[in-house]
């Protein structure tokens, strides 16, 4: 299998620049990084990809068993890095990809130079002595909401799955396919994302890490970011003055400066 085609891997920037991998989170695809890429493209070898089952990845490669655990996505990442034959990378993971990158770095530390974790959460559901921000019932409700938008999810993905080349509107469909994928896969990805518990993996990370926390983020609240920073052995933390969970779209400049500053300080 061609791993680079499977995950729609795109590489840009100078070949001798330090490699920078940008990994999108749950709910969207690599287009999430559109405002961030230009800032790094002059200095870094920038790698973009879609998780298996998201964006323009090969949906047929989605495996309900392999991808029922974040470790499965982490294996995908390792395979991508091996296929690209890059020196140790700077990995920027947004949302659930922060955990995916972290698991990959625990498994294959030699592939990673640094980790930037944007809005990370090792566990979304509250537990004894731990505040993740959500109750189990609320995650179930998310799944219902996703089901309610079944048509919205599926409408735009259909021509891509069926691959009807003579349809003139296909190009148009592709441009507006952002954040849309197969509803069944999206639903499974939601369960894998929101029902995982990776707290015990945090102390196993040896790679230098930066926790990027948004000041007002209902998905990954401040307390969760602090928890991650506290339990990651070799980590720094920066708080962005941003509302919401997607600073890569809503405040790309702040995100870029924080990351660049951390890179420069090393």
């Amino acid at each position: 299998m061609d791993v680079l085609a499977r995950n729609n891997v795109k590489v840009s920037g100078p070949t001798d620049g330090p490699p920078l991998v940008l990994a999108h989170g749950f709910g969207c695809d690599s287009a999430m990084w559109r405002h961030v890429v230009p800032a790094f493209e002059n200095s870094h070898r920038v790698v973009l990809f879609d998780h298996t089952g998201a964006g323009a990845s090969d949906l047929s490669a989605y495996d309900p068993v392999r991808h029922s655990r974040l470790e499965g996505y982490a294996s995908d990442v390792v395979e991508i890095l091996q296929a690209l034959e890059l020196p140790p990378v700077r990995f920027v993971g947004h949302s659930v990809s922060a955990m995916i990158g972290l698991l990959a770095a625990v498994d294959r530390p030699e592939l990673f130079e640094r980790l930037v974790l944007v809005g990370p959460s090792p566990r979304y559901i509250d537990d004894e002595g731990y505040h993740g921000g959500f109750a189990q019932a609320e995650i179930d409700e998310l799944l219902v909401t996703m089901d309610d938008n079944y048509l919205g999810w599926s409408a735009h993905i259909a021509p891509m799955i069926m691959g009807v080349p003579e349809r003139p509107e296909l190009g148009e469909e592709l441009t507006s396919s952002f954040c849309r994928t197969d509803p069944d896969i999206a639903r499974r990805f939601a369960r894998t994302t929101f029902l995982s518990d990776n707290r015990s993996d945090l102390p196993r990370v040896r790679t230098p890490s930066l926790v990027v926390q948004c000041r007002d983020d209902v998905i990954a609240p401040m307390a969760v970011g602090e928890y991650v920073h506290e339990h990651l052995p070799n980590s720094d933390m920066v708080v962005l003055d941003v509302t919401g969970h997607c600073p890569n779209l809503s405040a790309p400049d702040q995100l870029v400066s924080a990351v660049e500053a951390w890179f420069d300080a090393a």
Partner: protein, 628 residues
């Protein structure tokens, strides 16, 4: 704006968001739907906070990014937090330079209708998935032959299409549960065998599936669900159906094994007839049934005397498998024995088998390698009917495929008017290998490559003892093979003519023995001087043995045995052994015996004495002629 009735009293909820996403304007309709006061909302709340929690996550992870990238959202189904519960709405939004305009319309009726549709669709999808899982499992079960294979298919399906983390299977053998196997991610050891319940049941968080057959219960399958975040739960209904299918498959498997064992016994009884013992040759064979061991095949090997002094060697392959092939094999094997006889020879034998096969259609297109070896002269006459060529392994180490004497398989539509045969002369120590194509033929390589590998493997075993050679050769060639086909191998070693004589201790027959031995030595190619020396040395050894080894017991005998050996790259050598049942004596008598030994050692190239069981004196001498 807030006072304009077109805004305030619009039949849809209207909302303006500032650049940071907080509400800057809200109409009265939406305030009423959410049960909030304008002051609590404006400048304080963001849109996601008006939503029920599922929608809030969806908004943050999916809709907000979508809005930021595409600038608009259309017809998104969400729920508002309302004073008396939730209100389903459809949301549309459009971004502009200063923020975002949002419109929400009441979707209560539509939402319940759509949920019904969705529920129906989900039920259909679930039933399709169930059907598929059941079909996949049933197909695997029906492909499995035999109880062990059905057990493997059950375990494979359990941790595969049925989605268990770990599966443990017990099968009932003679009324007792026997652990068949554990499969899955966690290699936990199995606990005690659970009693199979009436129907599939949940026990301590695990699922226990009974395997009921039509008459009896064949065992139980215990499944541990996967606990990965995104894993699907185990489906009890499907598992129950799988348990029933597995029970029926085990019914069939037990019946099949009973009939298969009949075929096996038949085949074994046909293969286990050893050729008559003779010092001039040795035969070693291997029969390796295919992995689907219950399917007997049509391969056979045979070795028998056509007439005194002529040994027939046969390896054949009847097309097909199962009882029909085994019984056709049995008939063809008997036909070969019946047809072979003095004056027939390989070519005519094959022609007569053609006629026989016309009467036994199940034996049609069988292939056969047939050879007759003259045990005195080493002349090998052979013929192949569509069968792999015999392999000649010279004692010197060279190997050679015998490509002559070939014709088509037995009883084909196109058959030669006369079958052909060929001949080759063996030297003492040479070996001949006959085998079926399963030994070297693979789908993944050409026939020539397979034969090259066969030659290489044979060359590596030339100097090994016969039994070890045939076993080692078969093992090395079958290493890469999945064991689908059955395999027959026959390896013959011809040691050449042997001189054997037994004398009573009174030596009345010594003079005749000397004459016979001399004649045999000359026949084997010894010159007059070599023959005289060897006869003299042998006489000394016999005299010693009779005198001292006989221990004064007149009925004791001395055994004389002589053979020709051809070591690799050396002239041929006569090896003569003289054996008695006495022991070495005290020194005085040993001295007498020792004097005889001195004479012998001057006459021969090598002298060895072995006293481990009686006394055996072994003499060796080259007899001039260089090896070919």
């Amino acid at each position: 704006m807030s006072s304009d009735p077109a805004w305030a009293e619009a039949p849809v909820g209207l909302l303006e968001l500032g650049p940071d996403g907080t509400c800057v304007a809200i109409n009265r309709t939406l305030l009423a739907w959410t049960g909030r006061r304008e002051d609590d909302v404006l400048g304080r709340l963001r849109l996601s906070e008006l939503l029920a929690v599922g929608g809030r996550i969806f908004w943050e992870t999916h809709l907000a990014p979508l809005l930021l990238v595409e600038g608009r959202l259309d017809e998104v189904a969400l729920e508002l937090r309302a004073p008396d519960g939730r209100l389903p709405v459809l949301l549309s939004a459009i971004s502009h330079a200063g923020g975002t305009r949002v419109a929400l319309s009441n979707a209560h009726d539509r939402a319940s209708y759509e949920r019904e549709l969705l529920a129906a669709r989900r039920a259909a999808e679930l039933s399709q998935r169930r059907l598929q899982a059941l079909q996949t499992t049933t197909a695997a079960l029906s492909r499995a032959v035999g109880v062990e294979a059905v057990g493997e298919a059950v375990l494979d399906a359990a941790v595969g299409v049925l989605g268990a983390a770990t599966a443990t299977l017990w099968l009932t053998t003679e009324g007792k549960p026997r652990l068949h196997g554990v499969r899955g991610a966690r290699g936990e050891s199995a606990g005690p065998a659970p009693a199979p319940p009436e129907a599939t049941a949940v026990v301590d968080g695990q699922v226990l599936v009974p395997l009921h057959g039509s008459g009896s219960t064949h065992g139980a399958l215990l499944l541990l669900p996967r606990d990965d975040a995104g894993a699907d739960p185990l489906d009890l209904e499907v598992l129950d159906a799988v348990g029933q299918q597995a029970g029926l498959a085990l019914d069939r498997a037990h019946r099949y094994e009973q009939s298969a064992s009949v075929a096996h016994e038949l085949q074994q009884s046909l293969l286990s007839v050893p050729p008559p013992p003779d010092p001039r040759y040795e035969v070693a064979t291997v029969y390796r049934p295919g992995v689907q061991a219950l399917e007997v095949g049509g391969d056979w090997h045979d070795a028998f005397l056509v007439e005194p002094g002529v040994l027939a060697l046969v390896v054949g392959d009847v097309v097909g498998r199962g009882l029909a092939a085994a019984s056709a094999m049995g008939q063809l094997r008997s036909a070969v024995r019946a047809v072979a006889g003095p004056g027939v020879g390989p070519a005519r034998l094959l022609s007569r088998l053609d006629a026989f096969v016309d009467q036994v259609p199940a034996a049609g297109m069988a292939t056969l390698a047939y050879a007759e070896l003259d045990l005195t002269t080493g002349l090998l006459r052979y013929a192949c009917a569509g069968h792999p060529p015999p392999l000649l392994m010279r004692a010197s180490g060279e190997v050679e495929l015998l490509w002559e004497g070939r014709s088509t398989p037995l009883g084909g539509f196109v058959r030669p008017l006369e079958r052909t045969a060929a001949e080759v002369r063996l030297a003492p120590g040479d070996r001949v290998l006959l085998c079926t194509d399963g030994l070297f033929e693979r789908r993944t390589r050409s026939l020539d490559e397979g034969l090259d590998l066969l030659c290489a493997a044979a060359a590596a075993t030339v100097h090994a003892p016969l039994e070890r050679a045939v076993q080692g050769l078969t093992r090395s060639l079958l290493e890469d093979e999945q064991g689908r086909d059955d395999v027959c191998v026959l390896l013959l070693s011809w040691t050449g003519e042997v001189f054997e004589w037994s004398l009573s201790a009174d030596l009345t027959a010594l003079s005749r023995t000397r004459k016979e031995l001399r004649a045999w030595l000359v026949e084997c190619g010894a010159g007059a001087q070599d023959a005289d020396d060897l006869v003299l040395a042998t006489s000394e050894a016999i005299a010693n043995a009779a005198e001292h080894g006989g221990a004064g017991c007149p009925e004791a005998s001395v055994r004389l045995r002589a053979r020709v050996e051809r070591p690799a790259d050396a002239p041929q050598e006569v090896v003569i052994s003289v054996r008695d049942h006495g022991r070495w004596r005290p020194p005085t008598e040993a001295l007498e015996r020792g004097r005889g030994m001195l004479i012998i050692s001057q006459l021969v190239d090598d002298l060895q004495v072995d006293t481990s069981d009686g006394t055996t004196v072994v003499l060796r001498s080259r007899i001039g002629r260089a090896s070919a």
